[in-house]
Amino acid sequence: MTDITRDAEITTTEGQSGFPFIAATVLTIVVVCAAFGPWLAPHAADAISLRDAMTPPAWEEGGESGFLLGTDNLGRDILSRIIAGARVSVVIAAYAILLSGGIGAALGMIAGYFGGVPDSIISRLIDVQMSVPSLPLALLFASVLPPGEGMVILVIVMTYWTWYARIVRGEVLSLRERDFIALAKVAGVSTPIIFIRHLTPNILNTMLVLATLQFGSVIVFEAGLSFLGLGIQPPQVSWGGMLSDGRNFIEVAWWLITIPGIAIMASCLASNILGDWLRDTFDPVRRQL
């Protein structure tokens, strides 16, 4: 009797990969903030009010209900700045993922499918790119190009396209040996159609997992660049820049550094959890479980 109940429990927990509500909610909030930030924020992100400087969050002693998450050393509302920073993070992540994913997947597919000379060229290019550390590359670009969103996206794309290219190449190497690819050729299907109909849908899972993982790491990477002053420049708001500003006051105002830190961590974690769930759901074989 007890055994039967235990088995039933095991089946339900394993059988249904439950929708990750918390992760999805966190990401929805981040995306809504990015899209509608200026209408949601209680204050302007750059509104300076020295009288309200260093107000702690509302639940702390001395907090004010007008500044829910407190203010910084210039009296700017932290909540409004977090909302404005979400826009920067999401826009950069979206461009970086689309560009690096598109470029990486296209080159990876070509290398894996055709092999030979195209494969050698692309694989060597990947090796060269992976041997270049991303931070010195960012320093180089920062000294040559005007800093800002465009430069951050360029550095991220150059760093991350190799992820996609390498993994997609490997997937396509095994896919092209599958009989349905040979049969498509036998049926007279042209090479571009083989890429679109047979290769792309079969690497989409991998791409999705990589993209969600990358969403998290792009946010961390962008925050890192901005923290070092190489990325988003003031007066534009970014979570990394907020961390950097708050660092000077870490002993007197913990919220300046903790709140952007939580924003970075929560969105990174949420995108990873959601990505795992999406992968399980989109796989038609596992969907039946």
């Binding site: 599958r178 009989d179 349905f180 040979a182 049969l183 498509a184 050729k185 036998v186 049926a187 007279g188 299907v189 042209s190 159609i193 109909r197 047979h198 849908p201 079969n202 038609p284 074989v285 039946q288």
Partner: protein, 316 residues
């Protein structure tokens, strides 16, 4: 004129170690329209490579393959497209031959789309093909993983016949299936053949399975044809020691059936290090001195029956 004419076809692969794998080494065969030819041999003898050469999935390194008089490996543009509509294939593993991301309707209809059949005709023709292989037309809306191995092979057959090709290459079409459904699939293939006047090239490693299906049998060993002949004569009077051994290995459900002579031991030799002389001599129970040094030539041993063996006399 033969529908498919293979003339001294070779396919050599260069290995990184500078060795050469002679997967197919001087094969000549021809198949007439409406015939079923069986190609049998052990794993690794090159029969699948030969199938891939016929389908133009591997490059020829020598010789020629002609389909309906045209050199398959020199076709370009429209002529190649015409060839692709005429020759289709069914492979061994029905799990690998259907794209898991496409619905069955898209899989079966893909050859039609590739050859520019108008969209409005697609669903009727997909229905007809599914009906022909004994599947309901609702199957078109499902994904491959919702079907069993035998049903998947039916889907693969529906796809192969939807363009009404002249030749279908069947590469071990039933060996991945459960024993209980093999007969069903074999019967289905025979019904379709007589209905559509198809020509089959069946590749198998098991002689018993092709015995009642083929008109002509070719036996392959290490990249070469060792015996070729009319199915009846070859099965009743095998001449080459290798064919005799293959037939002796077929289990008979009759204890009084006389045990055939000819025991073959050991493994098929590596295609990297071909034995000298006759390639079969290290395993041949009847090998004589000549076999070690001189490769035997294929010669007529009876009407519609050739063998490549020093011990078999030519027909006068």
């Amino acid at each position: 004129m033969a529908l498919l004419d293979i003339e001294d076809a070779t396919c050599h692969f260069d290995m990184p170690s500078r060795q050469v794998v002679k997967a197919v080494d001087g094969v000549s065969l021809s198949i007439d329209r409406g015939q079923t030819m069986a190609l049998v041999g052990e794993s690794g003898c090159g029969k699948s490579t030969l199938a891939r050469l016929i389908l133009r999935l591997e490059p020829l390194t020598g010789g020629a393959i002609r389909f309906d008089g045209e050199d398959v490996h020199h076709l370009q543009g429209h002529a190649l497209k015409r060839f692709r509509a005429q020759v289709q294939a069914v492979f061994q593993d029905p799990y690998s031959s259907l794209n898991p991301r496409l619905r069955v309707g898209a899989i079966v209809g893909e050859p039609l789309k590739a050859h520019g059949v108008p969209r409005r005709e697609l669903s009727a023709r997909i229905d007809a093909a599914l009906t022909m292989v004994g599947l309901p037309s609702q199957a078109a809306k499902l994904y491959p993983h919702e079907f069993s191995g035998g049903q998947r092979q039916r889907i693969a057959i529906a796809r192969a016949l939807i363009l009404r090709p002249a030749l279908i290459v069947l590469d071990e079409p039933i060996s991945a299936l459960d024993v209980s459904i093999r007969a069903q699939i074999l019967n289905l293939l025979q019904d379709i053949q007589s209905e559509l006047h198809l020509t089959y090239l069946v590749i198998a490693h098991d002689l018993a399975l092709v015995e009642h299906m083929s008109d002509v049998v070719a036996v392959m060993y290490l990249g070469q044809i060792v015996e070729w002949g009319n199915s009846e004569t070859l099965f009743s009077d095998p001449r080459h020691p290798y064919t005799q051994a293959l037939l002796a290995a077929v289990p008979r459900p009759d204890p009084t059936f006389p045990r055939a002579r000819g025991h073959v031991t050991g493994e098929i030799a590596s295609a990297l290090e071909m034995p000298s002389g006759c390639r079969f001599h290290p395993r041949c129970p009847d090998a004589i001195e000549t076999c070690r040094s001189i490769a035997p030539l294929e010669h007529m041993v009876a009407p519609i029956h050739k063998a490549a063996c020093h011990l078999v006399d030519s027909a006068s």
